[in-house]
Amino acid sequence: MLHTVNKSPFERNSLDACLGLAKAGSAILLIEDGVVGAIKGTTIESKLTETMQSSKIYVLGPDLAARGLSEDKLVDGIQVVDYGGFVDLAAENTAVQSWL
């Protein structure tokens, strides 16, 4: 399943809720304000690293660029996708869960 998260993990618990309920083998895509969670050195980095042992985490490049966050700041293992990649992920997965 593809999970998208569009809220900052520092403001809401959407990402926490997502990570708690996403099964191994999920794809998790951070979009809009959610992209701020993908940066190295934050208070939530270890949660992402742990999740990536069993699932994949992606981040939407255009939303990252809008917030002045460069790709070299990302937690290792997180993959950047563009809008086309977003569509591919949605198509590859049987369902999409949009955490708000």
Binding site: F10, D33, R67
Partner: protein, 137 residues
């Protein structure tokens, strides 16, 4: 408001830009409110620090990049932008990730001076305690 005492106004910004309209709305209110000649400062805490990161590029999300407008604040006599150090650290950021926002000091031969003041949470608490009016976005 041509007479009366000058009050200390602080705009407190806690949201990232673009995902919601808060950051832009705050900036617009700040610019409009600047006409009233009050003692204005801005605080960027929590996710608000993302509003003033350098290198923002919005061409691929189809929204206007309003980050250059923070550089105009000095022209509006808004020269105190407090940024909470802890908020940066919690987010894996440092002051080097922020724009170099400056103002020109009219009383010092237009010398360029930094507007951003990185302060600790305790220092910011003191600054907030000294305000007359606080506006939250």
């Amino acid at each position: 408001m041509s007479e009366g005492t000058i009050k200390k106004f602080m705009y407190v910004n806690r949201k990232p830009p673009y995902g919601t309209v808060y950051a832009l709305e705050s900036l617009e209110v700040v610019l409009i409110g600047a006409a009233f000649d009050q003692d204005v400062s801005l605080a960027f805490i929590g996710d608000g620090v993302y509003q003033i990161t350098k290198g923002q590029s919005t061409s691929d999300i189809g929204m206007k990049n309003f980050s250059p407008t923070y550089n105009a604040l000095g022209d509006y006599d808004i020269t105190k932008l407090y940024v909470e150090q802890e908020s940066l650290t919690e987010r894996g950021l440092s002051v080097d990730d922020l724009m170099d926002i400056v103002y020109e000091d009219e009383d010092d031969d237009w010398a360029e001076k930094p507007s951003i003041r990185v302060v600790s949470r305790a220092e910011l608490a003191d600054v907030i305690a000294g305000q007359d009016i606080l506006l939250n976005f």
